[in-house]
Amino acid sequence: MDSELKREIILDNYNSPFHKGLKNEKGYIKANTNNESCIDNIDIELKIENGKVVDATFDGEACAISTSATSIFLRKIIGKSVLEVKELIKNYENLIDEKPYDEELLGELMAYDTIYMQPNRKHCALLPVDTINKILKEVESGD
């Protein structure tokens, strides 16, 4: 992916993020993450039915990297099973940490493949993942 395309993907998702605005309806599980090393602050809510993510929304104030990564993530996980979401998260974390990953699975998330060069921004890129993990943990401990 060339850097022009990466920038375009990030900015598109930053300027018009997918499913921004929480529904706060019954059946949604919400989690918040405050980026400890900076000031990003987002809420994500997922609706999970029969082991599958059927809806996902988010809200909050965050930088271009966090906001766009959250937007791309939510678009990708709707319709996926919890297991598939976990697999995606694992590959994405590997991407950020310079470990082996499945490029095809990550798709647009490949826009963050050079984030490791800016260590202070890794947290920004991982913000949606930290938040989704919290929700998955709650789901697992809940029932």
Partner: protein, 401 residues
């Protein structure tokens, strides 16, 4: 006009433009060398006096207490307590003094532009004692007015605890007048001096301040050391909240204890000796320049900064009128952190965020800003560079992504 020799600050050789002085300041060589000197030549614990280097360390340590006393014009060096910083000082005041001084129903006045360290200890105390925390309303410029203060005081008000200069808005409060008003009502005035003591002349006697707190590292000194000033009559009533070596006279197995007198009884454990000595060197350095000169120069720099940034329609300024070197801003439509990261690409250091003033958002309706906080080693040339970089920020995302 440049009022110092920039070569005194080794870190400036790295070609950085440092505009985050509200967070911490750069250190001149003389401060670092004073600390090295202690470690190399007379590294011993204090108050052990049986050998020469210990006596030398004790003398150096106590000499700084005297320097601080003169620097803020306290009446006695016994009124100067060394702490780990402003946060520690405020906690000691709240839990060592106010805990016993305040009674159920008493009111403490703060403002929404206070730093976390002057809010959270009070909120914690309010949980323990049934006291009421009230916020004096700020005006449209987010500044404290005397009228609002007068309107908020009731016969239950026992304490006013406010910053002399706030860390985001940067308004300079009229402490002299506020102290007069406070004392007319038998109210104790606690002044958070973290953002003022480094930048202007502080006179606790002239302004009749009851308690003052500040940090060494925001005034050229090292991290890990700060000061709690309290009038003798209040320190005599304050109790230690940390116990251990150095602060006790004697103790017995049956619990009979006698503590040392003020200020030593508030300095349990081995204090930050090197840091205190470093703070002494910082005070010497500041006094050689002169606090009035520093204050006037910073005001001039801020005016220059505002006049330049005002010409850029993309820049939103939040506090251009305040009389200190602090300016909060945003670029239109850009998240403050992205702006800070963009500036970092040009080696310009600014802070993005809520600057530990998390309740200020209720006032300015903006959670996050970029903050420029100036110090006397900053120059108009550095400001010109910032202005230039912000002017060509149309390619911001090209630079940071």
């Amino acid at each position: 006009m440049i009022i110092i020799n920039r070569e005194d600050f080794p870190i400036l050789n790295n070609d950085i433009i440092y505009f985050d002085n509200g967070a911490t300041t750069l250190k001149p060589k003389c401060v670092i060398e004073a600390m090295n000197d202690y470690y190399y030549k007379y590294c011993a614990n204090i108050h052990r006096g049986d050998y020469k280097i210990s006596l030398e360390a004790s003398n150096a340590y106590e000499e700084v207490r005297n320097k601080v006393k003169n620097f803020i014009n306290a009446k006695s060096s016994n009124e100067i307590v060394f702490t780990s910083g402003s946060t520690d000082s405020l906690n000691k005041i709240v839990f060592g003094f106010m805990m016993n001084y305040l009674n159920e129903g008493d009111e403490v006045l703060l403002t929404k532009s206070e730093h976390a360290s002057n809010v959270l200890p009070w909120l914690e105390l309010a949980k323990i004692k049934n006291i009421k925390i009230k916020y004096i309303p700020l005006n449209d410029n987010h500044e404290l007015t005397i009228k609002a203060l007068n309107d908020t005081i009731t016969d239950k008000t026992k304490v006013i605890s406010i910053a002399h200069i706030t860390n985001v808005v940067g308004d300079v409060r009229n402490i002299n007048l506020i102290s007069k008003i406070a004392h007319q009502h038998n109210i104790i005035l606690v002044v958070d001096g973290a953002q003022s003591v480094p930048h202007m002349k502080t006179d606790v006697t002239l302004d009749d301040i009851d308690f003052l707190t500040f940090s060494g590292h925001k005034m050229l000194g090292p991290t890990g050391v700060g000061v709690l000033y309290g009038k003798t009559k209040y320190l005599e009533k304050m109790v230690p909240i940390e116990f251990g070596g150095g602060m006790n006279q004697y103790f017995e197995v049956d619990g009979k204890v006698e503590y040392k007198s003020i200020p030593t009884k508030f300095e349990a454990g081995t204090p930050p000796i090197a840091e205190v000595i470093g703070l002494g060197a910082a005070i010497d350095y500041l006094q050689t320049i002169g606090m009035e000169k520093i204050y006037n120069y910073e005001k001039e720099l801020k005016k220059y900064l505002v006049s330049k940034l005002e010409k850029n329609p993309k820049v939103i300024l939040y506090n251009k009128s305040t009389d200190s070197g602090v300016l909060a801003f945003n670029l239109e439509g850009i998240f403050s952190q992205d702006t800070a990261i963009y500036l970092d690409h040009y080696n310009i250091c600014v802070r993005a965020g809520n600057h530990c003033a998390k309740i200020l958002k209720d006032e300015i309706n903006i959670k996050n800003t970029c903050r420029i906080s100036l110090y006397f080693y900053n120059t108009k040339e550095e400001i010109d560079k910032l202005v230039e970089v912000l002017e060509k920020s149309d390619d911001l995302f090209k630079v940071i992504l």
